[in-house]
Symmetry: C2
DNA sequence: GTATATGCAAAACTTTTGCATCCTT
DNA sequence: AAGGATGCAAAAGTTTTGCATATAC
């Protein structure tokens, strides 16, 4: 009921495809998925939803502020649940793990820099790419 | 002669397409171009170079460290001359202007954050998107 | 019942690749 | 002369769109 309310709140009808897609992001914390990955999960769950619909729904969710879209290295768009607070990303080049962080100091400096140069900041994206040294990093390149 | 030496230095034959492409980036400072834009400039200059070659040359230049590739919002890859020093980007959403900046404080914080979380930093990208208030901003959306 | 959403297939776009030909060394 | 580079066309990969049908309210 909560998820459906989310949809109504942003002016979208509560349809099955939209509920299922939203559920994928809500059900497991901190997921960063491409459209194709969302589509595959739906298929794996036995849902009969077209890839075109997935793209449409993802775009609607982004416009509604439910998801945010990122462009990491690699060209494909990646979506994640948009929790109110802004945050940036640490991406492991070995295993694809994505961690989020927020640093007040960096935020402050960015604002200062933009203002100094006469830019009104709308948005920003900071991606740090590296190798995580987690013991479970599968190093699948 | 300087440009040609650049190519030889990185182990690439000095061919006409490569010289022309490199010249586009060298001839005007601070350009950030998509493959398509590079291709159009070549055509405008009367060069008969295929788009496939442009893509191949851009990729080679990136691997050779002459150019760097970015993924701003919008999905297309954007290339710029790779001057040794790392820097980040301010992008105007109205006119597409791109300004570069470097901030020691931000760099330092990033490193700290990554290390805290067990990441060995390979690379990072910081894009600030906003509206520049320059008088010549054509606001062409 | 009406407006909107979906599925499918086709299209649009960006980027890559195969192959015959051409150019650099 | 030999190997690598280019152009063209075709393919591959991602995302969008047209249209008839199905669904939510």
């Amino acid at each position: 009921m909560d998820v459906m309310n989310n949809l109504k709140r942003v002016g979208l009808k509560s349809t099955l495809p939209r509920l299922k897609v939203l559920n994928i992001f809500v059900s497991e914390a901190g997921q960063h998925l491409t459209a194709e990955e969302v589509y595959k999960r739906l298929l794996a769950d036995g849902e009969d939803i077209g890839l075109a619909t997935v793209y449409r729904v993802l775009t609607q969710f982004e416009q509604a502020g439910l998801l945010s879209r990122h462009h990491f290295e690699g060209g494909k768009a990646i979506f994640e649940l948009h929790h109110g607070e802004h945050h940036d990303h640490l991406v492991c080049l070995q295993c694809g793990r994505v961690e989020e962080f927020y640093d007040e100091e960096i935020e402050k400096r960015q604002k200062q820099i933009a203002e100094q140069r006469g830019f009104r900041v709308q948005d920003h994206a900071l991606y740090i790419y590296g190798d995580c040294t987690k013991t479970d990093c599968p190093h699948r390149s």
